[in-house]
């Protein structure tokens, strides 16, 4: 087929037929009999639980599988009429762009302009063409001001846009994205999704987007493909997907769909706008306000973590910067707090300062005892046996506290992602517990990155257990601890925060901009608000259960 015909969209952007793939030394296949076709200009959302084959399918579509990873492959993969099993990733780069989860390893140049220009240079494009393409893609992604910056001075969101620009600069017909918003705050995440939609509409580029937080992108998609155990479980319209997931895999449904389902409304909405239209059509009008839920009296006990006018200065890139600017905060035993805010707002710095990693330059900080789990649990795991990480009785007590006492002889690498996270938490807890008593504060920094909803539900149970003074966890007997810990979790995930938190502290540019009951904070805005709150716009209503009760008229 001619280049012109391909450009005009005569051939599918991606055609996969009967694809089976097994990674080298893997015991079972990652992809099983996958057949899929994506039309030019289509926006397809790839849903599915962790390890269901989403990432592998994306890698097969850009040639990394099998050319880079090796393994056994059968079937057919064609990208814009190019045989992806024959052509390597470099040759496919003209037709397909790929953006992975971690932007740090997706830039290979020193400056932004050089990074975006590299694929064109490798292709041998003339200097003038390169300059124009770089300028156009920078304008399309709203990053012309970044072109002369060094890549190591960019924030995560900026880096993700630069990586996207480098993937788009060759004007590919298809762009593949593997959880591109997992490290972004809600504002940057929403911006990225709508940027993709705009590129999809204006440039006609087909999009295949793998995501766990479906509520963020379902409304932007033309079609949903759900992966199950390496195969395709569902392929159809977003509305039909919600009906399918409701019956087959409820972990994949969106909060708005759960809201409608619990309230007995039909059809299930694919987004906020859709939900509002349906509600208007049915004549159901939620009350303008409901009584706010009672929150525990903050003065009922002494704070276990207290900051007064706390200032912290850190070297960020090229200069010292005040990352925390006069933080006043009191945390009491048993509180479950979500610490939220944009990337760079100071969430991680606040937790790290409380744990003693940074010295405040001014103000007062007092904390009874704190165990902090940072963003990458794997950083805590340096030995090849769980028992070697946590020797002695105190180590075993910490393992019991997270429900991992049965795994003493296991290799940490053989544990599931959730178990590794709990092991890392046990390492942070070890020696900070008095007998079976938890430390006063347990802090988790972005613990849900790359997690599907089932794993998030496990984490919610763990957090509730820690804050309740006992850990009742899946496949483990309950462990009783007499002192409830205050649990502070820095997170971008609004729906996760609504599931575990009773209080939300919102940071902006190093200052506390809101601090109050979860229902109040997460229903009082647009970006830091749950999908249900955005649908109903009733102060104090944030979860599907609350929303359904409101719609049924049970709450006044």
């Amino acid at each position: 087929m001619s280049e012109l015909a391909i450009r005009r969209g005569a051939a599918p952007a991606l055609a996969v037929r009967g694809l089976d793939y097994t990674y080298p030394r893997a015991s079972k296949p990652a992809l099983v009999d996958v057949s899929l076709e994506i039309a030019p200009g289509e926006f397809v959302l790839l849903a599915g639980r962790s390890a269901s084959g989403k990432s592998t399918l994306l890698k097969a579509a850009c040639g990394l599988v099998p050319h880079f990873h090796g393994g056994e492959i059968e079937g057919e993969v064609r990208v814009a009429e190019l045989d992806a099993l024959e052509a390597g990733p470099g040759e496919l780069a003209a037709a397909v762009g790929y953006l992975a989860q971690d932007p740090e390893t997706q830039v290979v140049s020193t400056t932004v302009a050089a990074e975006i220009e590299l694929p064109l240079e490798m292709r041998g494009d003339a200097s003038g063409d390169r300059a124009r393409a770089v300028e156009e893609v920078a304008l399309a992604l709203a990053i012309p001001h970044l072109l002369d910056r060094a890549v190591d001075t960019l924030s995560g969101g900026e880096l993700q846009r630069v990586a996207l620009a480098a993937a788009l600069v060759t004007r590919p017909r298809l762009i593949l994205l593997d959880e591109p918003t997992s490290q972004l705050d809600p504002v940057a995440g929403d911006e990225l999704i709508w940027l993709l939609r705009r590129l999809n509409e204006e440039w006609g580029v087909a999009v295949l987007l793998a995501e766990h937080r479906l509520e963020r992108c379902l409304a932007a998609a033309d079609r949903v493909v759900a992966m199950e155990g390496g195969g395709i479980g569902f392929d159809g319209a977003p509305g039909d997907f919600l009906s399918w997931s409701h019956g087959n895999d409820p972990a994949l449904t969106t909060p708005a769909a759960r809201l409608f389902s619990l309230a007995g409304l039909d059809p299930l909405p694919v987004g906020v706008r859709d939900a509002r239209q349906t509600l208007r059509g049915t004549g159901i009008a939620p009350p303008p306000h409901i009584a706010s839920r009672r929150v525990p009296d903050p003065r009922s006990s002494d704070p276990v973590l207290e900051t007064k006018n706390l200032w912290v200065e850190l070297d960020r890139g090229e200069e010292m910067r005040d990352v925390l600017r006069g933080i006043d905060l009191e945390v009491r035993p048993g509180e479950r707090i979500a610490l939220m805010g944009r990337n760079g707002a100071g969430k991680s710095t606040l937790l790290q300062t409380a744990a003693g990693l940074h010295e405040p330059v001014a103000g007062k900080l007092s904390v009874d005892s704190i165990a902090l789990l940072t963003q990458n649990p794997s950083d805590y795991l340096v030995r090849e046996r769980v028992g070697d990480e946590l020797p002695e009785d105190e180590g075993v007590a910490a393992l019991r506290a997270v429900g991992l006492e049965h795994a003493v002889d296991a290799d940490p690498r053989d544990l599931s992602g959730g178990e590794r996270q709990r092991l890392a938490l046990a390492i942070a807890l070890a020696g900070r517990m008095e007998g079976e008593q938890l430390p006063a504060v347990v802090a988790l920094d972005e613990p849900t990155r790359g997690m599907d909803r089932a794993r998030k539900d496990d984490l919610v149970a763990l957090i509730r257990g820690l804050a309740g003074g006992s850990v009742a966890f899946v496949d483990s007997e309950a462990t009783k601890a007499t002192r409830p810990a205050a649990v502070v979790v820095a997170t971008h995930d609004v729906e996760f925060a609504s599931a575990f938190a009773e209080r939300v502290v919102l940071l902006g540019e190093g200052v506390v901009i809101a601090d109050g009951p979860m229902e109040e904070i997460l229903s009082g805005g647009w970006y830091f608000a749950t999908e249900v709150a955005r649908v109903l716009d009733v102060p104090g209503v944030v979860t599907p259960e609350q929303g359904a009760a409101v719609l049924r008229g049970e709450l006044e």
Binding site: A93, V108, S109, T110, A114, L357, L373, E389, R432
Partner: protein, 305 residues
């Protein structure tokens, strides 16, 4: 935390010059430092590198390099004073030391040490200026046609270094956050973990390079920024530095002797070499833009009727 020597994209003659011209210029200063032992010329080489860095806007890199270079120079002078007993001017007799034997500190040994130290300091400053002002992407791009694999390896390494540094920082934080009853993290397990992580990262970066088409045999395009209007200036200054240094060497400008007594030549040739080398530091100078005052337009004169 960003390294003070990291490349900072800026506009200026040294930054705009092609990598070849910048390397020739800064390399010529380093060559002078290696050719000469005379402290005056070495000081001139150090001053030239410092001046070049300051004029190119790399003050942070120059400050850090001076701190590092002068500390090293001090250390070299100290060690040389302790291990060399040559020289006639004994400043202190420190008696017998284990390993060193009898230690007599002489003025000559100190001055010889200072001379070696100045060589090290001048070289460090020149490399710091190179690192902060010369775009590594352009260097690798220039290298690619001649040594594709080396350029690929260099690209991989240059990207992995900051990533590995960030990983090491995270691992250190995680080690500090382990509970007191968790097994302590020794250096060996930490290094092993960092290495394993780096290998994973290397695979990710290599995959990105693959996706950017690094393995393609497509014809390499000409680079629009291969040459700049400043190239001639830097090549000319580099030639001038080298020619002066060689001529000076032939004319005995490197007249320096530390032992048995100090003899520093300050002949006209030495002074001339030092002056030329110092002034070469002005090469990255750029005239400030001057706005021309707008002249009142001379419209047609009104004639009184």
């Amino acid at each position: 935390m960003r390294s003070p020597f990291a490349y900072k994209p800026k506009r200026g003659p040294l930054q705009d010059a092609s990598p070849g011209a910048a390397v020739a210029y800064l390399g010529a200063i380093v060559v002078v430092a290696f050719l000469y032992l005379n402290p005056l010329v070495l000081l001139a080489a150090g001053a030239a590198a410092t001046l070049a860095g300051v004029l190119a806007g790399a003050r942070t890199a120059v400050r850090a390099a001076l701190k590092m270079g002068l500390s090293l120079a001090l250390l070299i002078a100290l060690v040389n004073a302790l291990v060399t007993s040559r020289g006639e001017t004994v400043i202190a007799r420190l008696g017998d030391w284990p390993l060193f034997g009898r230690v007599d500190v002489t003025l000559e040994a100190i001055v010889a040490g200072v001379s070696y130290g100045l060589l090290a300091a001048a070289t460090i400053v020149a490399f710091a200026v190179y690192s902060a002002c010369v775009d590594p992407d352009r260097v690798l791009r220039a290298l690619r046609p001649f040594a594709g694999r080396s350029a690929l390896t260099a690209t991989l390494v240059s990207r992995l270094v900051p990533v590995a540094a960030a990983d090491a920082g995270r691992l250190r934080d995680a080690a500090a956050l382990r509970g007191p009853a968790a097994a302590p993290v020794g250096k060996a397990p930490l290094a092993r973990r960092l290495l394993a992580g780096s290998l994973d990262r290397a695979v990710d970066v290599a995959a990105t390079l693959e996706l950017r088409g690094y393995s393609l045999d497509a014809p390499r395009a000409r680079n629009r920024r291969n040459r700049s209007r400043y190239d001639r200036r830097f090549y000319a200054v580099a030639t001038l530095i080298l020619a002066t240094a060689i001529a000076g060497k032939i004319l005995g400008a490197d007249d320096f002797q530390a032992y048995p007594t100090i003899a520093i030549g300050l002949s006209p040739a030495t002074l001339a070499v030092a002056a030329v080398v110092t002034l070469s530091g002005l090469a990255p100078f750029r005239r400030a833009l001057k706005r021309r005052p707008l002249q009142a337009s001379r419209g047609p004169e009104l004639r009184r009727v």
